[in-house]
């Protein structure tokens, strides 16, 4: 009975210590942080960007995936926003029925 109590106490204190250590883990911040808003970067004049500037390099790292994804999906199709709106409204109409 006594050894069970001791084991349980050690287990609970170990768990509490582990959880408190995790609170300072950078990954905890990553889970809470919002996603980067890369739309502003898309609209920037790429000719004026200083690629040697660490701030610009860091921003490009953050937005690399988004920018590739956007240019990759838009460029070949050449879709216009109106077309997307029409498609989505047609889809919505279809779902309503």
């Amino acid at each position: 009975m006594r050894s069970k109590f001791l084991t349980l106490s050690i287990a609970i204190s170990t768990l509490a210590f582990t959880l408190s250590a995790q609170a300072h883990d950078p990954k905890e911040h990553m889970n809470n942080a919002e996603k980067p808003d890369c739309a502003a970067m898309e609209n920037m004049d790429h000719g004026k960007m200083d690629v040697n500037d660490p701030v610009m390099q860091a921003m490009m790292k953050q937005c690399m995936g988004d920018m590739e994804g956007m240019s990759g999906s838009e460029a070949p199709k050449g879709d216009k926003p109106e077309q997307h709106e029409n498609e989505s409204s047609t889809e919505q109409a279809g779902h309503n029925h």
């Binding site: 300072h24 996603k35 390099q57 921003m59 790292k61 937005c63």
Partner: protein, 193 residues
């Protein structure tokens, strides 16, 4: 005759010191000094505390070795998320001029989204190396009775230097740049795993 004069003078000094000490103790125990954060220190107390703080930090931080790669984008990116999570509520960010903490804390935490000359809390030094050492020391050890905690528990030196790296570029960031740098993209998650 001269020895007598010296002894009398020494006695006077001793009595003055004891009276001053007793007076100081009486003042401490009287509870007359306003301790509320909404009543500023008087000029002498403020000067005394500020001088003691700056001299203490200067002595303790002068031997700290500053890393060479402080301007790297990797450090900037890692420090940005930590700044946003741990510091921005008190030390603000681009586009924000005040928070409940900046209004209520005394002394008010400096707005680190502004340049040192503008917020006036850079320690009054032109030496850039010392400015970096000072920021590192303050983040690591905190400052007594100021609301600034020590981040040493749970945060190693590298992580603190990353925050110092981000602080060097923070005053020139726009709100959009700040958002992108402090956010966490899928790319950075993959890189850090």
């Amino acid at each position: 005759m001269a020895a007598n004069k010296f002894l009398r003078c020494g006695k006077c000094l001793m009595i003055t010191a004891v009276v001053a000490m007793l007076g100081g103790l009486a003042f401490l125990y009287s509870g007359l000094y306003p301790m509320g954060a909404d009543v500023p220190h008087n000029g002498i107390t403020y000067w005394g505390l500020e001088t003691m703080r700056e001299r203490s930090i200067a002595r303790a931080a002068s031997a700290i070795e500053v890393p060479n790669d402080l301007a790297s984008s990797e450090r900037l990116l890692k420090g940005a998320a930590d700044y946003n999570a741990m510091c921005a509520s008190c030390h603000l960010k681009p586009g924000k001029n005040q928070s409940d903490f900046t209004l209520g804390l005394y002394p008010a935490p400096p707005n680190l989204a502004q340049k040192g000359d503008d917020h006036g809390h850079d320690g009054g030094h032109d030496d850039n190396t010392y400015a970096l050492q000072r920021q590192f020391w303050i983040i690591k050890h905190g400052i007594k009775a100021s609301g600034m905690p020590s981040w040493a528990p749970g945060h190693d030196d590298e992580r603190i230097w990353n925050m110092v790296s981000f602080l060097q570029r923070l005053p020139e960031l726009s709100t959009g740049q700040y958002q992108v740098l402090t956010a966490r993209s899928d790319n950075t998650k993959k890189q850090e795993h």
